[in-house]
Assembly symmetry: D2
Homo-oligomer: 344 residues x 4
């Protein structure tokens, strides 16, 4: 499949490019940008490890326009929210297949918001899109939402979430590039990330919601989040205090997490980790620098699983790579899932 990447020059865009290099199914042929239109991709500043993959160095950055997308079978979007809003709707209307990491369509009731291991069934919304003559379009959630919601899935199934209190320790790469000034990030934390807490609170309830009569009913637990930027390059850490309807056993919970597998694993999708959730038992893990690259950054790592102040309360800490599992890698995995299900 020929694929295009919208917004391919930013921090998340570069991660897409890196992960699409050598991809067995997707052939990246178009990269769009904004200020760098007309330049060789290999001439832009590359902020990831290594070099721009050789096969993409000579791609010339195209504009974000329908014309740029001719002959393309699938569009990945790493656009900033503002730019995504209109253009992604335009793609939907025109029936151009879209897998977006932008926030614009995430809460649209017609668009599935999918963590491939958590709610692959939500892709059934695409049938409704087809009836309406739009799409197919799917989105994957915000980075922090992803890292937090993936381990909540088996716990929610077992014990039913009632109330969530979460605090995040988010990496600098999540703010894009140039992002946070270094003068603010040394010897400091920044206790506010615009829009982030709302995303965590809303998206998690959509993802863990149920499909009923072709529509998503949001899960009805409460979520309270405080999102904070810390001086870490990559890897979001989330401290989760979860309260459930049922009594919880921490050891059983650890087993549920460690044993969790889902469709991407069964289908052996190219980008799927073997084990989406790893559990560490050392008291001081997970740590972002040591755990963010588990299974190439596609797994999250959970630790500090312990009982809270009552028997229905479970506390845990999770680390996940924000631009891999939390963005580009997951969007690619989502596209693989859609392809395997013949939705694109």
């Amino acid at each position: 499949m020929k694929v295009a990447l919208l917004g391919g020059t930013g921090a998340v865009g570069q991660r897409f490019v890196s992960m699409l290099s050598g991809h067995p199914w997707f052939d990246l042929t178009v990269i769009t940008g904004k200020t760098s239109v007309g330049r060789r991709y290999g001439d832009l500043k590359w902020i990831l490890e290594g070099e721009v993959p050789e096969e993409f160095r000579d791609l010339v950055i195209a504009e974000n326009s329908i014309e740029s997308l001719r002959g393309v079978d699938l569009v990945f979007s790493a656009l900033p929210s503002r730019e995504a809003r209109e253009f992604e709707r335009e793609l939907m209307k025109r029936g151009i297949p879209l897998v977006s990491n932008a926030s614009a369509l995430r809460m649209d009731p017609l668009v599935p918001l999918v963590i491939p291991e958590v709610n692959p069934d939500h892709l059934s919304l695409i049938e409704r899109q087809v009836e309406l003559g739009i799409g197919p379009a799917a989105t994957d959630p915000n980075c922090t939402t992803t890292v937090m919601t993936l381990p909540l899935k088996p716990l929610h199934e077992a014990y039913t979430l009632k109330r969530l209190n979460v605090a995040s320790y988010q990496a600098l790469s999540g703010a894009g590039y140039p992002g946070v000034p270094s003068y603010d990030a040394i010897d400091n934390v920044i206790p506010f990330i615009p829009g982030e807490e709302e995303k965590v609170q809303n998206e998690s309830r959509k993802i863990l919601g149920a499909i009923e009569r072709g529509e998503i009913r949001m899960a009805d637990f409460e979520v309270q989040a405080t999102c904070v930027r810390v001086p870490v390059l990559d890897g979001h850490t989330v401290a989760i205090h979860a309260e459930f309807e049922e009594e919880v056993d921490p050891e059983e919970a650890a087993n549920l997490l460690e044993g969790f597998r889902s469709e991407p694993q069964e289908l052996e999708l190219p980008t799927a980790p073997e084990q989406p959730i790893h559990v560490r038992t050392e008291p001081d893990r997970p740590q972002p620098r040591y755990d963010r690259n588990e299974e190439g950054g596609m797994s999250v790592v959970v630790g500090r699983i312990r009982r809270g102040s009552n028997r229905r309360s479970l506390l845990l800490t999770v680390v996940g790579h924000n631009t891999i599992r939390g963005a580009a890698g997951q969007a690619i995995l989502l596209a693989e899932l859609m392809r395997a299900k013949k939705l694109i």
Copy 2:
């Protein structure tokens, strides 16, 4: 008053020395240590800004022993927990006045655990000590507990705390010196601080507890804490998710915090801040680097005051200097309060 300082060579000990320099009431004449006994204080490695205060440079480090304390009217303790356990009990038995920042006696039912602005009334426990022929001895809480509990006081009075979920972003100086290896602290957070969460959970409930028939009844709200070390030099940040018995109005809460004053302010104690709690309204404050030194580090700074997922829930973020308000400065303020009340 002639005062001694136990454990005066560590990170908190140095802060005591710095803050006792030029103190109008307390004359520091004895500093004890462990590995540096017999050395000049001015020859030790000084990890704070500036130099060792001139008047203390020639003090020779004494051992932690009763003999070292001859002629002293008051003892401050900055001992590590293990060393404090026996020695502080010994001081109590011998009737040597003690104000301790160590954790050893904090949860002792006979020993008041005091944030001077929050529960000065708990000092009435000292009457019981006197009856028993021990003490007087008082302790101040753990750094994170202090930073969190100070702003909770006026809120608890107004709305009655029911459940607390807190996550901390704690500074490196809290681990002492040498403390955390730099190799672990760069591009990383460390999601576990031994014993810290238990302290936060227990101490806060003692401090906000009530004196009944000469004993402290712990406050009965639930507390769940996740404590994390971040690459910040000084200043602990705490994200507080509080649920109250009553409905909360965020604006009113901000006014209660901003207007909060207590005995140390009324008594105009030398180390008391004019306003113990400052409220910032910028969306991205408080930040440790910018806010930790408010009123010389003796005030905490609160921001991001907002409603949670229901009307009885309030979310806020607080920053306070961990070795000043959270340790040495508060212990000195506590001693001043005890002196003003003629308890020492």
Copy 3:
């Protein structure tokens, strides 16, 4: 004297504002900016410790224009180089007194480039300006040049510099705000600072040059510099390898540095440090975090004074505050010197 500050909103501009607060001679009445014209100064983002000084909060940012400067007796410039070029020449032509921290005029043969303790005699160039009906205008050097050249002065006098090899470890605040992206500054150094090495190489030779027949003859030692940005907030460190015409004794050199005083000290100028150069003898000092604020940031701190590979070679390391001694503080000190000499 009524003074204006051009470019008062950036990192150096804020330092000027902070240091002009409560200044006994200079009354700051005009602050100009670019993107923030028309806004209250107190409403801008303040990146220094504490708050915007109260007396300047209500100043409204003016444009960089001659009209903005009416009624002003002296103009400080913290303009970016590009903007300074034309406007500072315009000021000179119009006879508006100027003390600039911008690089635009530094190498102009008619404009003195002055470290007040090093070459106060270069201010005699202002006589020539007066003859030509321009100025008075003076500049102070680049931050790294200042930190390096101040301790070289007494050594050059004693031993005559022949060749300099320097490497810098420069703070992030030197890149302004937002400056270096945090994603580049964590776990990294950046081995290139545009234009910096040329400034260090040229400016140092002008400053240590001699006035001959009303003109400056550049000192004729060789300078080779490598300038590197490191993850430090404030305070430039410079490793100096100096070769002299004469044999050097490290101990004597230390005494020369420690004992160095000059006109600003003799005149007791308000911003002058008592001792411009402090010498530390601990093997691991100076360090930027511990030494940058010596005498309010107006002194530099030298250490590691040792002989090089031959008897005419001396190695030393110096730390100085880049936005205080290296920029705003020094420009203010220079203006004080000019005022004391009745040049403005």
Copy 4:
């Protein structure tokens, strides 16, 4: 070959273990330690990426003793200097083949100090060892010396070094673990590393020296070094100001560096990089975070090649991985070279 690793639990030791995992020639069967004797290797704190290689997890840490080395064909040493001194001499005497990264024997006139690409011919000293009935023993240089001397080799051959001024920006991992306290490493640089400058000054002249009548004559250029620790996890940066006997052309120099190959490349040794020196032409490279892992950390990366203040002077900056090329990786490469030459 069965190999033992002395001091295998520290920062460099772990790097050895990591690089010996799956090695085609060397089978690591013994790891010695000090405080952890008797423990499973897999139970120690692992400070590198990923996990302890599976094949070594069950190795039990042995003591540093001759008995521990029975049946072993080659000994790698990552011992601290103090411990290495006597024990490595003992090994030499007993004829146990040794490749050491410790500093103890580096300046011994009978022991070759080898960067495999720079002075493989120095291994001829081993013939003299054999005559004397000791050894074979070889050492590889200090990390900073390695990173600096590797690119100097082709330049010295072409232009003949006369004088070197170098300043380093050294990573925290070079101080071992726990190493530098984080409280010292945030917002700071540490301008002194005990013994480091002497090593750089002496070792470089031995390595670039010539074998004459079975002895090494030290190269006779002058070296002056300032070595500084910066907040970087891995990767030493060195700013080199080199003065040569001959006139230097920067472009030609770049070509010499880029084209440099030596015996390890000709012999296609398993750990040899294809190209030991990479040249970057971007103005702001090399940077440690981006360049330290070039060819698995076995290549150094050079940039900022430019003329100095005269035609015989060349300035350049180099980055190399301090525990791979600068320690474990290079020692392994050296052993491979010795094996290929049938010296062990």
